[in-house]
């Protein structure tokens, strides 16, 4: 589309955020699902933020690819926000604290978000490889 041989900065930024969202998400997800010790709340926080940023980056993109990116990012963001809400409820409201039941809910919600993020990454790979072919 007339970008020439140079690098499209917008695509770089977007690719960066998509990958970062997926890696942060994975980082939080990885570990024993019932053990709060191996799931860092800060990582969850960053995952939420980076996912929201990735979603906003796809606002207003009317291509078919852009629409699917928006959909997957939106799904991941909503899942992660839900996970954060459960986490906050467990630590701040519930009398039980962050027990095995609560942390497993949070982590499984994150697992769902991870799936959506993986789809985003796959889309990114497909788009990049088809871009090369042209």
């Amino acid at each position: 589309m007339g970008y020439g041989p140079g690098v499209n900065l917008e695509k770089v930024v977007f690719g960066f955020f998509v990958l970062l969202a997926a890696t942060l998400n994975f980082g939080y997800f990885y570990g024993d699902i019932r053990d709060p010790e191996v799931h860092s709340a800060y990582e969850l926080y960053l995952a939420v933020v980076v996912n929201v940023v990735a979603t906003i980056l796809k606002f207003g993109d009317r291509t078919q690819m852009g629409a699917i990116y928006l959909a997957t990012s939106l799904v991941a963001s909503l899942q992660l926000i839900a996970a954060a809400a459960v986490h906050i409820h467990a630590t701040e409201v519930s009398t039980m604290g962050l027990d095995a039941h609560a942390i497993s809910s949070v982590v499984s919600l994150c697992g769902g978000a991870l799936l959506a993020n993986v789809v985003s990454v796959i889309l990114l790979v497909i788009e990049t490889s088809s871009f090369r072919h042209r």
């Binding site: 980056l57 606002f59 207003g60």
Partner: protein, 596 residues
């Protein structure tokens, strides 16, 4: 001397026409109609900035050492920091969650400056987008297209919302027809709301010569019934006509034009009807001069119900005619009058008042109403027998023109609007009037005498009756049973055969052909359409006749059938055979006969 003012234009009927060779889709897409996308795209940057500010501020606050209410060391959790930053940066400002340390307060001070700026930027961008003209346009266009797509009944597209367009819109509104309006100027479309029409018609503005605007206005809609191109620009009307004809050949198109060249081009492009107000006026003027009775009859029939007979002017064709004016109007009228064999002189109003001392008629047609009124009044003072026709350009001057009571007033917009409405809403009447202008005075005098004898000296009501199951169920049942029914019987009312008729059949349309004043013994067929003139009383009778089987039978045979089911059953055996072999259900068992 030619007798038909309108039919002497050979290009108006038949002839080769441009037709499309390849079917193309009607364009209706636009690059920026998805309003939400525009909004989101432009909000992207402010939202990202806001997210970044809040993220850093929240994370930072959660990392600074603080104390709880008892003075024990305690950092804020991420959620507490986020909560605090949210209400602080949004300038809501509750108190501190715990007594903050100086380090926390320093961080929060910086975070407030950044956060308030972030919010201000995001909200400012949002409001500027919402107030932006292109965003409003996109939103308005989306609303317009949604309204057009939501039409569930036949509708017309009115192209051009000047004076004529407004009159057509009001007329269609009064007739409960739906329509969409497009014009070049947004101000005129705003008037649409102010007109307080019944069904809040959708309207939009744009370049009228682009096919996509027509597409948005519903040219591709399955309910689109017709396109009316009545801007005052011949080129725009022609391009609308071309788009409509090439993209939707099945849709009816009526176009307005002001020159003969434009008229020929439009007919070549398949216009169903072209209205040239100047030519129409010339035609009516010639009609009034050459055949005063026909002219009198046509204006009497078109006048409001119950109007007195208009005066008849004779002897206008022998003498000189003066036309004061320049441009298309003067040329067109002069051509018509010359073709009718009259002596015509065109006078430029700039050369002073026209000399009318030896003239029989004067047509005043400059573009200025004030000048027209002044010239016409002065000419009438100079020659009191003069026939004065005046062109009225704007509606605001209508009371002045009316007060001076000229012999003929020509208002192009009124004429165009009347013709369009007549063609759309009363096509049979319009066809009858067209046929009428081609008749000679003898024929018209006979019809006039007949109408006066039947309906009185006030103008009759006109009504269209279609012989179908919806409008004339009883007549249809009668015809379907194989027995004849004539036009004379239909208009005789319910008083029975061989009684003086109360209504006059003006025209019958059958299989695309029009029969003028069909004779009384003309047999009816299913699907015939009749145009009938009569008084209200006659139409009350007609309504009964169209729906009541018993009345139909009485009118056709002179005998009333047995009215109730029980009686007809009792009498069936005795009399059915003598009733011309009528099946039992026609002898009174049908539901309609129960109430009679």
């Amino acid at each position: 001397m030619p007798i038909t003012p309108f039919s002497e234009r050979p290009w108006s009927d038949g002839g080769p026409r441009v037709s499309r060779r390849h079917v193309v889709a009607i364009p209706d897409d636009s690059p920026d109609t998805a309003v939400l996308f525009i909004l989101l795209r432009r909000l992207r940057q402010p939202l990202l900035l806001l997210v970044a500010i809040l993220t850093i501020a929240t994370f930072g606050l959660s990392q600074i050492d603080g104390v709880d209410f008892d003075g024990n060391p305690r950092r804020l959790t991420i959620f507490e920091s986020f909560y605090f930053m949210t209400y602080t940066a949004a300038t809501v400002g509750y108190t501190e969650l715990f007594p903050y340390t100086s380090a926390q307060r320093m961080w929060v001070t910086g975070a407030i400056y950044a956060g308030v700026l972030g919010w201000a930027y995001a909200l400012g961008t949002l409001f500027s987008i919402v107030g932006d003209k292109s965003f409003k346009d996109a939103l308005g266009l989306q609303r317009f297209r949604r309204a057009v797509n939501g039409m569930h009944e036949p509708f017309y597209i009115i192209v051009g919302f000047g004076n004529a367009g407004r009159l057509v819109a009001k007329g269609l509104n009064n007739l409960h027809h739906r329509f969409a309006v497009i014009d070049t100027s947004a101000e005129r479309i705003d008037v649409l709301v102010a007109d307080q029409l019944e069904l809040d018609p959708p309207g939009w503005h744009g370049d009228l010569s682009t096919p996509s605007l027509l597409g948005w206005a519903g040219l591709g809609h399955k309910h689109c019934a017709g396109v009316v191109a009545i801007t005052d620009d011949n080129d725009i009307n022609l391009s609308v006509l071309m788009s409509a004809h090439l993209l939707r050949p099945d849709v009816r198109v009526i176009a307005r034009c002001s020159t003969q060249e434009a008229e020929e081009q439009m007919f070549a492009f398949g216009a169903d009807s072209v209205i040239n107000p100047y030519e129409r006026f010339g035609g009516y003027l010639v009609l009034a001069l050459q055949r005063p009775i026909t002219s009198q009859l046509s204006s009497w029939l078109l006048a409001a119900n119950g109007s007195e007979m208009p005066p008849r002017r004779e002897g206008l064709a022998d003498g000189r005619w003066v036309i004061a004016g320049v441009g298309e109007f003067a040329q067109e009228v002069a051509t018509d009058l010359t073709r009718a064999g009259l002596e015509v002189s065109i006078v430029d109003p700039a050369d002073g008042p026209p000399d009318v001392s030896d003239a029989v008629g004067l047509v005043v047609g400059t573009a200025s109403d004030t000048l027209n009124l002044a010239m016409a009044s002065r000419a009438r003072l100079a020659n009191s027998d003069l026939f004065v026709a005046v062109r009225q350009q704007t509606h605001t001057n209508a009371p002045l023109v009316e007060a001076l009571e000229f012999d003929s007033v020509f208002s192009p917009t009124d004429l165009v609007a009347q013709e369009v409405l007549a063609q759309l809403s009363t096509p049979h009447l319009w066809r009858f009037m067209t046929h009428l202008t081609e008749q000679d005075d003898e024929w018209s005098a006979a019809l006039l005498a007949r109408l006066e004898a039947t309906c009185g000296s006030r103008s009759p009501r006109l009504r269209r009756v279609e012989v179908d199951a919806l409008q004339a169920p009883a007549v249809v049942r009668w015809l379907e049973s194989g027995r004849p029914f004539t036009v004379g019987e239909l208009v005789s009312g319910s008083s029975g055969p061989n009684t003086p008729t109360a209504a006059v059949p003006l025209m019958m349309a059958r299989d695309g052909a029009d029969i003028l004043t069909p004779a009384n013994d003309f047999p009816l067929q299913l699907g015939d359409v009749l145009l009938i003139a009569g008084r209200s009383v006659a139409f009350d009778d007609l309504d009964e006749l169209l729906r009541q089987d018993a009345t139909v039978e009485f009118v056709a045979t002179g005998e009333y059938p047995d009215a109730t089911w029980l009686w007809s059953c009792c009498a069936a055996g005795a009399t059915a055979a003598s009733r011309h072999g009528i099946p039992a259900r026609y002898a009174g068992c049908s539901p309609a006969a129960w109430n009679s």
